[in-house]
């Protein structure tokens, strides 16, 4: 049974959407994905989305009675998990066509949940007492150790933002499009040393949705799921085994490449979840595209930029395109666009695209291998 992405779409706009509630973002994305697939709600018998508002509310709001639900909520990587889980459920005969939705009023906080951890939670006891203020002060904490162990320079870290802005420059939907230099990055406001503002992701509103089904039920030229993998490491970044490499990135990548039966030389396009500038560096190394300590130079030399041999984060990424909070949906959407030949910054001849999604602070990861032609 061949599993495909038969529909994919984002909300009409991404960025600042104070007129949209969280639920509305989900529903708009869902309607757009159904239209993209040439389907209606009557074709959907499975629903997957993260905890808030959750699969029950999304299904009910759309008037769908699901035979299969998945509420896996493991951070921004969740939507990659949903694709993998949907594929398994369809193969098992539990459902036929699954709608996966994301909507997040990350910037405007309309109809959004509250932040905050109870003081008797794990983080409340062992991380929050030390003045942590969300991901910019915790996701980033691995970088100095990585820099000491590998020799990555501050300039090379800045190059990640510079490279991705080159892609965003070609994408009219990107929030930040002006080209920038290493000096611009290093001159931007310090958020949490060694991270400057331009090395941190945006905070935006938006959504996206996917329809996963079989090749037989797809009504348009599909994107095939060749392989997938999922993994988890630690609920607290302080307990990550090795601050210079993500176990979840490695394990999910190995599983996806093995199932897809592809090698790195087969990959034409890559999306690596980029909440902060060091994450694509870890992704390139942990997926095995470059050796340990080589990713900084690889990016600085332009290999991931337009015209480079491994186009990376071609929508501009979380650093320049959009980042609602759970960015993984947008990484998948860009891979689908590239494989369909519909991207704003289209790379010529993309046949195999890999998406690596991060969840939490290196807490979970999933990898998808997608293609527009079966081997």
């Amino acid at each position: 049974m061949t599993i495909v992405i038969a529909g994919a779409a984002e909300t009409d706009e991404v960025g600042r959407l104070p007129t949209h509630s969280t639920l509305q973002l989900h529903l708009e994305a869902a309607r757009n994905a159904l239209a993209d697939a040439g389907m209606t709600k009557h074709d959907i018998d499975g629903i997957a989305t993260v905890g808030t508002p959750g699969p029950i509310q999304i299904a009910h709001a759309l008037g769908i009675t699901p035979a299969w639900l998945d509420g896996t909520g493991v951070g921004g990587s969740s939507f990659l998990f949903h694709v993998r889980h949907a594929a398994a459920a369809i193969r098992a005969g539990m459902c036929r066509t699954v709608l996966i939705t994301h909507g997040e009023s990350g910037r405007s906080r309309i109809g959004a949940g509250r932040f905050g951890m109870a003081p008797d939670s794990l983080l409340g006891q062992f991380e929050l007492p030390y003045g942590v203020v969300g991901p910019p002060t915790s996701f980033t904490i691995t970088a100095l150790r990585y820099m000491k162990e590998t020799g990555l320079t501050h300039e090379q870290l800045a190059e990640v933002a510079v490279a991705q802005r080159r892609w965003a420059h070609m994408n009219p939907r990107a929030m930040y499009r002006d080209l920038i230099t290493v000096d611009d990055v290093l001159a931007s406001r310090m958020v949490a040393y060694p991270f400057h503002l331009l090395e941190c992701c945006l905070v935006t509103d938006g959504g996206g949705a996917l329809i996963v089904t079989t090749e037989e039920l797809s009504r348009r030229s599909p994107v095939y799921l060749l392989g997938s993998g999922e993994a988890a490491e630690s609920p607290m970044i302080s307990q990550m085994e090795d601050f210079t490499t993500s176990k979840a990135f490695r394990l999910s990548g190995e599983a996806a490449f093995a199932e897809a039966k592809i090698g790195h030389e087969d990959v034409d396009h890559l999306m690596v979840y980029d909440a902060f500038a060091h994450v694509p560096i870890y992704g390139l190394e942990d997926l095995g595209f470059v050796g340990r300590g080589e990713a900084g130079a690889f990016i600085a030399e332009g290999h991931t930029s337009p015209g480079g041999r491994l186009p990376l984060n071609t929508n501009g990424g979380g650093l320049s395109y959009t980042h609602t909070g759970m960015y993984g949906m947008f990484a998948i959407q860009e891979s689908v666009r590239q494989l369909r030949g519909e991207a704003a910054a289209q790379v010529p001849g993309v046949e195999v695209s890999v998406v690596l999604g991060n969840g939490g602070m290196f807490a979970s990861a999933a990898t998808l291998v997608l293609t527009n032609r079966l081997p």
Partner: protein, 135 residues
């Protein structure tokens, strides 16, 4: 005011330790490895034959950031380091660094540290200060 941790039954011995001026962590009696955060069984070998022991309080600086956007209660200290230290026993924990200017020049990775305790409401939170020298 800075956040005050609230114990749960399985973490109470840790916080009883900090109140007594001791850094207590768990050690597996089967595989003889230490671990942190508090859990009822060893995450390495799975044994539930575990005990609480007093750590030496010696540690090295594993990694950190220097936060320029202070959390509530930290306004007077910004920019301040949020650090992860590695205890002599091999486990790591998040903390803050005191008794040293929180600037990159003063905080080389692997510098030697020792534990101190800061009263926070009714609780005592483990912080670390330079012990002198670098590993």
């Amino acid at each position: 005011m800075k956040p005050v941790p609230k114990p749960t039954p399985e973490t109470q011995p840790f916080w009883d330790g900090t109140a007594a001026g001791e850094l207590r962590i768990q050690r597996c009696q089967t595989c003889e490895r230490h671990y942190f955060y508090p859990r009822p069984a060893c995450p390495h070998c799975g044994s539930d034959q575990v005990e609480w022991v007093r750590a030496s309080g010696r540690a090295t600086l594993y990694s950190y950031v220097i936060n320029h956007r202070p959390a509530p209660g930290f306004e007077d200290e910004a920019p301040y380091a949020i650090a992860v230290v590695e205890l002599e026993e091999g486990v790591r924990m998040m903390t803050n660094l005191v008794g040293v200017p929180n600037t990159p020049d003063n905080l080389p990775l692997d510098m030697e540290l020792r534990v101190v305790f800061e009263q926070r409401g009714d609780m005592h939170v483990p912080l670390f200060e330079p012990a002198g020298g670098t590993r």
